[in-house]
Subunit: 347 residues, 2 copies
């Protein structure tokens, strides 16, 4: 059996942290202690080569994170840091590191994943988005490489481990909520139509409208990036319509802040002129003016559960695919108003 840092500490009668410091040749450790620890290391045949374990059991002790587009862009949205917070809680317990490729285009991201997998740099991968016909996912399935998806796959739901919210239902709930306030003209501001989360939420929105015999209008559906700028673009398009919506379902808080900013610049009031509900409930939602009504999707928990599942898949090759649904909750603040209480004909 290979000696560990703890064995050395025990034999030298010091704390394990002292052994670490001796390895680092820390000047705060006395020469006498250093000598004693080094003798213990020699005696036990301990070599502070941390790669040895990894070579021996063919484990990289790291998991790969795949973002949709560059970290440069993704990290503008508080969603990803918060997901990574949840992930790192679990990987820390298992002494795993995080490995993140930095590709921007679909092809660069794909190449980054191939490098991770073929280079043996990670033991498993967390795919932090789900898009239609994603070649990264196809590759991981083909390679039978352990991975878990934050989001829902468009097909093969039974065979892919995935962690998400019930997005169809959450979106239907939000539209129902706006309808209950008397709104009939409700805009939908979503992300790329290649993202499964957009598809799911659009279906939930449509279902709500149809259940209430309200028309489903293509001109009320806008697809933009999950950035403040995306929200600004979206609201400009909607306000240019002959009959702009009186309420909006916005798929992302950052987009919603863009909507609020643009409406404020145009001297339109939320919620007096237009009601807004958003998703994610990031910290900023409580601080914005007005406070943003937003669906708390438990971002931290999404990351946490995904990491738990991936660790299961890595440690147990016979583990069956899992699906975890993380609960969501509408947090009401000040960005919605009953249609009858809104200003009449202001937009």
């Amino acid at each position: 059996m290979t000696a560990t840092i703890k064995d050395v500490a025990k034999l030298a009668n010091v704390a394990p942290s002292t052994v670490s410091r001796v390895i680092a040749n820390n000047p705060r450790i006395s020469e006498k202690t250093k000598r004693r620890v080094r003798e213990a290391m020699d005696h036990l045949g301990y070599h502070p080569n941390f790669n040895a374990r990894s070579l021996a059991n063919r484990s990289s002790q790291a998991i790969g994170l795949v973002l949709p587009g560059s970290a440069d862009k993704a990290f503008q949205n508080p969603f990803f840091p918060e997901v990574i917070r949840g992930i790192s809680t679990i990987v820390h317990e298992k002494e795993y590191a995080l490995y993140m490729s930095t590709g921007k285009t679909e092809e660069e991201i794909y190449d980054g994943v191939v490098r991770m997998v073929q280079g043996g740099r990670v033991d498993g991968i967390l795919l932090l988005y789900s898009s239609v016909d994603d070649q990264v996912m196809n590759y991981l399935i083909e390679k039978k490489f352990p991975f878990a998806l934050v989001g829902k796959p468009l097909k093969n739901e039974q065979s892919i481990t995935h962690i998400d919210n019930h997005n169809f239902q959450a979106s239907r709930d939000v539209a129902d909520y706006l309808i209950s306030l008397g709104h009939e003209k409700i805009g939908f501001v979503g992300g790329s139509s290649r993202l499964v989360v957009t598809i799911d939420r659009l279906l939930g929105y449509e279902k709500s409208l149809r259940s209430h015999q309200l028309p489903y209008r293509e001109d009320y559906i806008i697809h933009e990036e999950f950035l403040e700028k995306g929200g600004q673009e979206a609201i400009r398009k909607l306000l240019a319509l002959d009959e702009p919506p009186t309420a909006l379902l916005v798929m992302d808080d950052l987009m919603a802040f863009g909507v609020l900013r643009t409406l404020n610049e145009m001297q339109l009031s939320v919620p007096d002129d237009i009601s807004v509900v958003s998703f994610n409930n990031v910290m900023l939602a409580a601080f914005s003016t007005p406070g943003l009504t937003s669906v708390d999707i438990n971002i931290f928990q999404l990351g946490y559960e995904a990491a738990v599942c991936l660790m299961d898949l890595i440690s147990n090759p016979d583990q069956k695919p899992m699906r975890v649904a993380v609960p969501y909750r509408l947090i009401e603040r000040q960005s919605c108003k009953a249609k009858t209480a809104q200003k009449q004909g202001s937009i």
Copy 2:
């Protein structure tokens, strides 16, 4: 010379992305194209083993990020995602990945760094904080491993590549600004006294007070974590004093939001009862109520410049240590008021 994916693409007369897709056995590529690409791969002796390059030139094509404490905690503060945004812009250009250990305690972080270095997992390291007598930094110096520091080293400034703001001067400017508004009782809410950035800013604050013949009061100096909770703790301590300050220099926006929240709960007004200036100018600063006057330290640029320097150190072993000072700027919003315009004797 080894064949590249581009050589294969040229010979098969397809786009490089098509070659990637053939390697992934993507069903969207026709069998005919797959056959042609595979023939080209055979002909050129191309093997899609991305590890080969790394083995050949002994490069990991990754850089390590060292956070102060766990990602779990660090990522609560928008500072780190924003630094990483700046870093990833550069590492993306160089086709580098990011490697992040997940230790929580000082010892775990140290062990994580030793694993990165000795396991050959990274070509260089970015240390995203500077603390007094940091054993991680001592280890990297000892090993002569390429690293750059976001922050200022307490000693050996000439021999350590570091990227920071002029924190002494920035803090002095902020205190001067509050004094120019008529404030004489100014509290200092900083981070751990083991962080060099806290030490520097405290010195700048002290210098400003002394230049204006104002007393430097130990009871006005509070050290807490860079979290909302830290700000809440700090303001409670300051308000419990017989003579609480009328203005605060807070070292971090997240702390400042904690201060605002607690004052709001106590029905005290910013800026009517107390003026607040903060550092970082994160997005939330513009959205809070009142808008937070904050020093923009150009977080993105700190990460960007640090990555540029590290890449230089990695590619050129003879590169001399560098120091980059990133400019800062006070952004005035609504959280400060002249002392004479504040309510009298309200706190």
